[in-house]
């Protein structure tokens, strides 16, 4: 009689069934084990052999590993730097073709636009303008000076449907203003003999006093009535000598002042010895 624990018999009969179903594979197991054991031995001896050959190069291998690590670190760094400069170039290009830096603020409820100004390749002031987007588009915070008529520009372009057009107009006004202001700065720097009699915050009017070679003062008024442009729309001359403004020379100079930025026009006029 056998004292087997319950279920053992059924387990044994299951094993028997499995062995029978596996068929011919079962008897091969012992030789398979032998095979694998032989393989293990062969690989082990091969490893030992290689290990015996390795020690001289061990250092270098390790060293190379380190170099490779540094390389991979620095190459990762270089990669990031390259990516960064690529993105900066992209951003710069985006700005150049008229795009604005824009970010969402206020948990997505507003957008803030950076409007850069430049004149003759020199970056000047940057202005920021925030628009609330919900429930409708409204101007929120900004640092645009009050002589730029922001509200009337917003009324002219439909803020609700065409924010781009509105921004384009504001940018146009800002750039023109920055350009005119820069010209005034250059006149003061480059032409000390010319006296600036009057200007205004918007730089839409400029009154200059020239000294004509025979010591006659000549008053020149430049009116910039188109605030989206950097060039004057009108030039008036006033002189004690009433004939001077009508002379062909000065008529030519007036046209020049309408076509060329004032600081450069003055350089040309000085060169022609029309003024001191």
């Amino acid at each position: 009689k056998c004292f087997l624990p319950p279920g053992v018999l059924s387990h044994l009969s299951l094993l028997e069934v499995q062995a029978r179903s596996r068929g011919s594979q079962v008897p091969q197991q012992p030789s398979r084990v032998k095979e694998l054991k032989a393989k293990v031995e062969a690989l082990t001896s091969q490893r030992d052999q290689l290990k015996a050959e390795a020690p001289v190069d061990k250092q270098r291998v390790d060293g190379e590993d380190e170099e490779m690590d540094v390389d991979s670190e620095s190459s990762e760094l270089f990669h990031l730097m390259a990516r960064h400069s690529e993105l900066m170039d992209l951003l710069h290009a985006h700005n150049l073709i008229g795009g604005y830096d824009a970010i969402t603020t206020n948990r997505g409820k507003s957008m803030c636009f950076s409007l850069a100004t430049q004149y003759e390749g020199v970056y000047l002031d940057t202005y920021n303008l925030e628009l609330n987007l919900k429930p409708n588009v409204r101007i929120s915070r900004h640092n645009i000076p009050p002589f730029i008529p922001l509200n009337s520009l917003a009324e002219q372009s439909d803020l609700q449907t065409d924010v781009r057009a509105f921004l384009a107009t504001v940018s146009q006004h800002l750039n023109a203003f920055a350009g005119r202001r820069q010209q005034l700065k250059l006149v003061k720097e480059q032409h000390k003999s010319v006296e600036v009699m009057e200007s205004n915050l918007l730089c839409s009017i400029l009154v200059l006093m020239f000294t004509v070679p025979k010591k006659t003062p000549l008053l020149c008024t430049l009116e910039y009535t188109d605030h989206t442009r950097c060039l004057p729309t009108q030039v008036h001359l006033n002189c004690e000598d009433e004939l001077l403004p009508d002379s062909p020379k000065w008529k030519k100079n007036c046209s020049l002042l309408m076509e060329v930025p004032v600081h450069r026009a003055l350089t040309a006029i000085k060169k022609a010895s029309d003024i001191i």
Binding site: I103, N128, H142, P145, E198, N200, L202
Partner: protein, 302 residues
Amino acid sequence: MDNSAKHLLQRLVRRIPVSMLKSTLDKWERLTAEKRKSLDFTQSKWIITQELVALYITENPNQGMWHTFQLVEPEDDAHSVELMQFKELFKSHLRELQRNVSVKIKKHTDQAVWIRVAWGDGLSSPNHLKATYVVLYLQTPYVFVNALSSKHKPLLLQALTLSTRHQQIKAANLSGQKLTALRDLLMRQYQQVKLRVEKVQAEASANRHRMARETFGDGMLPALQSAVFKLETKFKGPTNEAMTQRDEPFICSVKFSSSNLLESLRHCASSGIASTPVTPMLSSIPLKGRNYFVITDNVLTA
């Protein structure tokens, strides 16, 4: 300069012999050489006194009480009004409204146009010691006024509106002692809105600092000295039934005063004393450039 100081100056100038007046002022050294040169000592002492008072006020604009007005509805040519044109228009419009006035207009180097109006009525000549001062910048809608009586107010405002080629002028609800603060606030001449991409900070205090700076600005803020909130709201209080039951609004006025109110408020926000995001009641001050508000039950107006 208050009235007693003006009278004192008047008496002093009267006492000092004309021959010594120039040298006395030179020694006094309160006026710059340029300003002293502009004084014409051949004029009567009375005129010299007036000029001294005017010089003093323009040099020390942060005194008295300045009230701001805003020009609205510009005509087509409003943006091309230049100084000479404005001077002529203003003087002629004002004289049409009141015969006996003395007007002096001068533009300062910062483009500010200063106007001094001395009012006289039918009987007396213009009183220069009680002159009204106006400061404006052409092509901007804001006008700052000091020492304007209610009698002369409509006249001055009309002359200003017409000569700047606008259709209307309204109170801008911004007043204070420091002209420079009011001007800087409206001209947005301070470091406002630092709008750059900033990483979301996990720390609450960093958030508060950021929101405080975004609302009020960076660096030096215009030295606004007060803000007034006039409440016309229904009384709400659990302990006072009698008041709560009333239908009429509870009228009360809250005034904040500080040597630099905007800085105080910014600090309140960044330190957590005032909750952030900053309530529109406070953020309206720098955002809308006002310091007088009327609050009714539904909406922040006026």
